[in-house]
Symmetry: C2
Subunit: 206 residues, 2 copies
């Protein structure tokens, strides 16, 4: 059975939501970031990167949200969470997920994880200052390219839980939400889904 290691508010929410949407048989375990549990020897034995998500499968541990999301879609094909029979459409979905991972999440991370790329407190403060602008530019691009109702158009895919997870950081990143009506509409549509309500309640109570 699948076991997902997650932290409330982290990008692991995307994988959590995808597992629920897939109808997967899975369990979850919270990694306590406040206690720095992700750096414990026990957790680093599971994920040497000391981050979430990490997903334990019968075959071994998977990391990296885009890889986990595609794996969930491929492992539960009846849930139709990706265009599995169309390499081009699948690649478009992967490109969207890769952009969220390597550009949007990274821009956001300069707010709270600046020590990854600098030690000087002044530099870390300067990175933090620019987050509304850099994350804002990412969501400008997403908003402009959004056809809806879902991230990839007419069909719900694993890109939707991922977008929903990262768009949940927009207020905290100081963005003016009124600039992003399509992204906000997507958020509302996601919040109406039973799987999303179930998982968000479980995370809030974890």
């Amino acid at each position: 059975m699948i076991k997902l290691y997650f932290s409330p508010g982290a990008c692991s929410t995307a994988s959590y939501l995808a597992l629920e949407e897939a109808g997967a048989d899975y369990s979850v375990e919270r990694v306590n970031f406040a206690a720095n549990q992700q750096q414990s020897p026990e957790y680093k034995a599971i994920n040497p990167k000391a981050r979430v998500p990490a997903m334990v499968t019968d075959r071994g541990v998977l990391t990296e949200t885009p890889a986990i999301l595609a794996f969930i879609a491929q492992s539960y094909p009846k849930a139709k969470l990706a265009p599995l029979d169309d390499a081009y459409a699948f690649a478009q979905m992967q490109a969207f997920n890769s952009y969220l991972c390597s550009t949007v999440h990274v821009a956001h991370a300069h707010k709270g994880r600046g020590t990854r790329w600098a030690d000087d407190p002044a530099a870390i403060a300067e990175m933090k200052r620019k987050v509304p602008e850099s994350v804002g530019a990412c969501f400008d691009l997403i908003e402009k390219g959004f056809d809806g109702p879902w991230a990839m158009g007419g069909s719900f895919t694993v890109a939707d839980p991922y977008l929903f997870t990262l768009s949940g950081w927009m207020e905290g990143d100081g963005l003016d939400l009124s600039r992003y009506p399509k992204v906000m509409d997507h958020r509302r549509r996601m919040q109406e889904r039973p799987a999303v309500q179930k998982v968000m309640a479980a995370i809030a109570g974890s």
Copy 2:
């Protein structure tokens, strides 16, 4: 026919190499970064992100290296560039590519692209200073997890051109190459491949 937009030395080399390894029918066009051509209206009509790679297909434009690499592997299955019939092994390959994209490349980008995340010159200089440490930590993890002879073990995959491309930045990032014997061995093995020799010569002459 496929057309790849690339820039010498950029991460687009990974896609260029994968197309050649796949035996694809493709053409390439150099984007002149020195002339800031990636910001031209003509190029931004192809890729609004103003970056390389961008790959034009019969269906439309694909961006993001991990997505392009998986697409190439799926589109040319006879070349056996990914474990297409094993979702878990495919996910491990994707996790490796995602790590290269969102962590290794991002750490490297703080050397020359610091303006993405800060405006203050002192902060940009501080980011640059930390690159040997942050990129070094990434390659420590890759070196430790490397079973070889290829990135994913016994079989050559699209992860190999990607690793080869990013490991080519190690000297410029100030890393002590002697700390990474497995990654260096991988580099030498890649350089022996005819497809690699052909593409690297074409890029050098572009």
